[in-house]
Symmetry: C2
Subunit: 337 residues, 2 copies
Amino acid sequence: MKLALDAMGGDNAPEEIVKGAIDAVKKYPCEIVLVGNEIKITEILRDEPDWKDFPLTIKHADEVIEMNEHPADAVRNKKNSSIVVATQLVKSGECDAVLSAGSTGAAVAAAQLILKRIHGIGRPAIATPIPTPDGVTLLLDSGANVDSKPEHLVQSGIMGALYAEHVLSKKNPRVGLLNIGEEETKGNEQAKETYQIFKNMTTINFTGNAEGRDIPNGKFDVIVCDGFVGNVVLKFGEGLAHTIFKLIKEAIEEGGVPVKLAALMLAPTLQNLAKRLDASEYGGAPLLGVNGYCIISHGSADAKSICSAIKLANDYVNNNVLEHIKTALEQEDFFKQ
Amino acid sequence: MKLALDAMGGDNAPEEIVKGAIDAVKKYPCEIVLVGNEIKITEILRDEPDWKDFPLTIKHADEVIEMNEHPADAVRNKKNSSIVVATQLVKSGECDAVLSAGSTGAAVAAAQLILKRIHGIGRPAIATPIPTPDGVTLLLDSGANVDSKPEHLVQSGIMGALYAEHVLSKKNPRVGLLNIGEEETKGNEQAKETYQIFKNMTTINFTGNAEGRDIPNGKFDVIVCDGFVGNVVLKFGEGLAHTIFKLIKEAIEEGGVPVKLAALMLAPTLQNLAKRLDASEYGGAPLLGVNGYCIISHGSADAKSICSAIKLANDYVNNNVLEHIKTALEQEDFFKQ
């Protein structure tokens, strides 16, 4: 797998991005093109004197799309930005996948404008793995699009199921529709209409409505929702986990000496857990539905997350998920209407 | 305050509901009418031999609306159900407020059909207190209505601000609009239109868009959203907190003797925290926008939650929130359009 890595995207770019790339080429069978400011990237690579022995190259790009820019406008105007150049490398076939921890909107816009959507897909969706007690549940769309139509949610369900099967090794993945009750009559218009399409489909294992509490409990392998709801849920989850661990810390600090000693002994256990619940630990989330492999990392990604995201890109590409999606769309009656 | 308490609503009814009422009349200046099956209620009251010395009475109602019934249909057909009879007691003026831990849909439908909406309010909203490090943030609507129009969200903002001010003692409460980004151009159509109305209002302290991570961090006093999103967020929060504490417990069980000993010392601290984060501990959430005081409790409410909810009903009624909302609606230019 040859990866175009946006070295300039994210809160910790380019340092942590480049370091993550160095770790990844040492660990996984991959080739990485670092896209961004050549001088800055070379400076960081100097810490790794033998970097030229690894399959790492630099592709210069002198612009960066900032978080506050309008995604589609910025992609159109900044032809030489790191995310645009990296995505172009996939379009031209020079690379197999693109990975960015920069503006999610810009990465989605670049993928849509340059790679285009898969034929039969109305809107791409970000599929974020949410930690559960025994693994992960894939939540999609977690923020690529809002005001989606029922058919877009159904397309997300099909793509999510194929990703869960081929990358997360889940057999006959259970697909749920995020809703406010279990009964099929529950929900807003979008959910009620989506339910009616899902329940008549035989190509995916639709197991009914999922409620908010089902997102972290592992009852479903894939949970489908509009990108507005998915984005709110994702950020709320990050915020809540953060608040809970902060409150645990405060409660311990206010406790007496025995509580503090106990906390000291428990610290590694709690830290491991906090890490496991941190979505950024999973490295990245695939943008499903565009005609190319695109992975989006958390803005706060560090070297470790980038390295995990590169492993994910490897699995994503090597399992031919894009081809599986295309084949499924051709077979699915729903899309022939 | 004289309360009509639906003694038959909730997973633990009637036992825990009746016990909560007994605790409340001992602690707070209130009078309670227990509405439901007289024989069952009397049986539970027998455990409290001197119950007749307290301001507790029973109003017989021989039907119960179950969780799986269609709310509005059930309210229309089961005239003698505990929630309908209890709500009628408020309508007739015999009681000041109604409280139920039964089907939320049925409680909302009964309030809308019997008490009617406040003039100027298109849709009522459930205002749920979400624990934050320093207090609570009010999230509304957390599930009374879906597919709300921008004006409904604005009405929720006004009602939430008045409730926060008069019941939660927050001065000039900061009102946020739940969205997927801070910028006013972000979001779905509903959020973008709502933002434009909010930003021109001078009667409330609108402080911009709130993201998912702001729900538990205390940055806003009131966060406004559609009932679909609010309900998903609320249930996801319950599920996530549950999962985190379950994982902490498992990690401790898998740990060695020092970890187990440490956990034993830390247990009270963690248990207190888990309790504080449990939304049901706050007892209940007001249904704002109907022409009467209606409080909705969690289906899993126990005696302690019911007792807290009765205290909340007391504060809600004694602070004349209903009158404050009516006055505000008359003064607000937005509603005169």
